[in-house]
């Protein structure tokens, strides 16, 4: 925790976990989707479901999906902003076994037709954790620059990606690997100390067997 986690964030109230964290969940979902969301189904679990309405959790997540950050004064009016910007959304309570008490499950569709399912939790103080992407465990916070790479579960991808990073003098802080099933889809979540140049991200995208690359530049929201 740095001193601006103690004094800060500047945010729209009333709750750092139920409001500011919820905005960040919406925002990071938009970043991960990679385009403007036009449809969203928002499921609220646990304490998000129980006290979310009174904390504006519903409006906060929609605000984040619209690209607002936790200090945006338009958060309380995000529902009407969504109508203006053509984002259709539904909000319902849901139960996710074993999930953190402040968890949301978002199914979003972007304007380019891509879809994504994001399960994320608000950990307190406005900090969040993305638990799953399309059902595959990822556990990343988006606080530092992060590369999320979807690839075929085959030998050689980790080596290819890490040597590219080494060549670009980018230091890896953490590296996590997950897969749905053997030989199926796999996900690499790499938190790094430096920002990744855009052309390096593009290069990764063109590699055979890599299906999707998402880059979060670490500022979160």
């Amino acid at each position: 925790m740095n001193i601006f986690d103690i004094l800060g964030p500047v945010m729209v109230g009333p709750s750092s976990s139920h409001t500011a964290g919820a905005v960040r969940i919406g925002y990071i979902t938009r970043t991960l989707l990679g385009s403007r969301p036009v449809k969203a189904s928002i499921g609220l679990h646990g304490s998000f479901a129980a006290t979310g309405k009174g904390h504006g959790t519903d409006r906060a997540i929609v605000a984040g999906l619209l690209g607002m950050k936790p200090d945006d004064m338009r958060i309380p009016d995000s529902f009407s902003a969504a109508r203006e910007e053509g984002l259709e959304f539904t909000i319902q309570n849901t139960q996710i076994v074993g999930a953190h008490p402040n968890t949301a499950l978002l199914n979003v569709t972007g304007e380019d037709g891509k879809t994504l399912e994001v399960q994320a939790s608000s950990l307190g103080g406005g900090r969040i954790m993305v638990n799953k992407l399309d059902g595959i465990m990822v556990n990343c916070t988006g606080e530092s620059p992060t590369l999320i790479i979807y690839n075929q579960d085959q030998p050689g991808y980790v080596a290819a990606v890490t040597s590219m990073l080494a060549e670009a003098s980018i230091n890896i802080a953490t590296l996590q690997l997950y897969r749905g099933k053997k030989g199926g889809h796999a996900v690499m979540v790499i938190e790094i100390d430096q920002r990744v140049p855009e052309d390096a991200v593009r290069w990764l995208e063109t590699q055979e067997g890599i299906q999707r690359v998402t880059y979060i530049d670490g500022e979160g929201a």
Binding site: N2, I3, V10, G13, P14
Partner: protein
Amino acid sequence: MAYQSLEEINEFCREQKLPFWRAVLLDDMNERTVTEEESLSAMRGMWDAMLRASDNYDEKLSSGSGLVGGMGGKMEEYRKKGDTLCGDFVSRVIVQALQMGESNACMKRIVAAPTAGACGVIPAVLVPLYREGHINADKIIEALYVTAGIGQVIASRAFIAGAAGGCQAEIGTASSMAAGALVYLKGGDNEAIVHAAAMALKNLLGLVCDPVAGLVEVPCVKRNVIGAVNALSSADMALAGITSRIPPDQVIDAMREVGESMHVSLRETGEGGVANTPKAKEISERLGK
């Protein structure tokens, strides 16, 4: 993170002959790899946001639940009559604490310090002092580093979330941070700063987190008042030369122990304390629909 105790900060200050705030600034530059100017500029941003939040209070607003709103306006009216028990300055502090807490509940923009629920405590003591005109903004920025240093040690040795340690972890921590800042602004030395922080925290040990209907409204808004006023009295005691008999870091450890042994119904679940009263249940049921 560098500092694990208040004693460590003060020891570093003694070695380097530094004021408390500067030790915190140097640590931030190191932790986030930023220049002095970048760190100061970020802190100025926090102060500007606090002042703007204070200016933007609207006594006509009420929270979505209707439980809070207008108290800051009422208190201000009363203060203006000039016959308060607490005197003018303390009454201004009370007004500011209520207003900030209400703004937060009404989804206005505030600075979490250390949390949104406790966002009123630090501005409640700093804004009225600043507006009296004897203290300039640069000095306030330095005082904010004092608050951050204290808060960071409490966060690392104990916790700052109501769900983890009850209200003592939120309002108690904010009060402790504010007390240290006040001592600094009044010219107290580094020892007095940490003793004020310790006394403020000690006085709020055991405070439970019992939000009615789980909302950051009742009793949270008014708890900001006790946090702010407790900071003033703790700072005055420290400036008078009174010290905490228990070393400040040990007080923080005690806060942790108390928080850990606190029943879960008293840690932000909205199940115990005032949240468990018949009236609170009635409110909760009305809002639950």
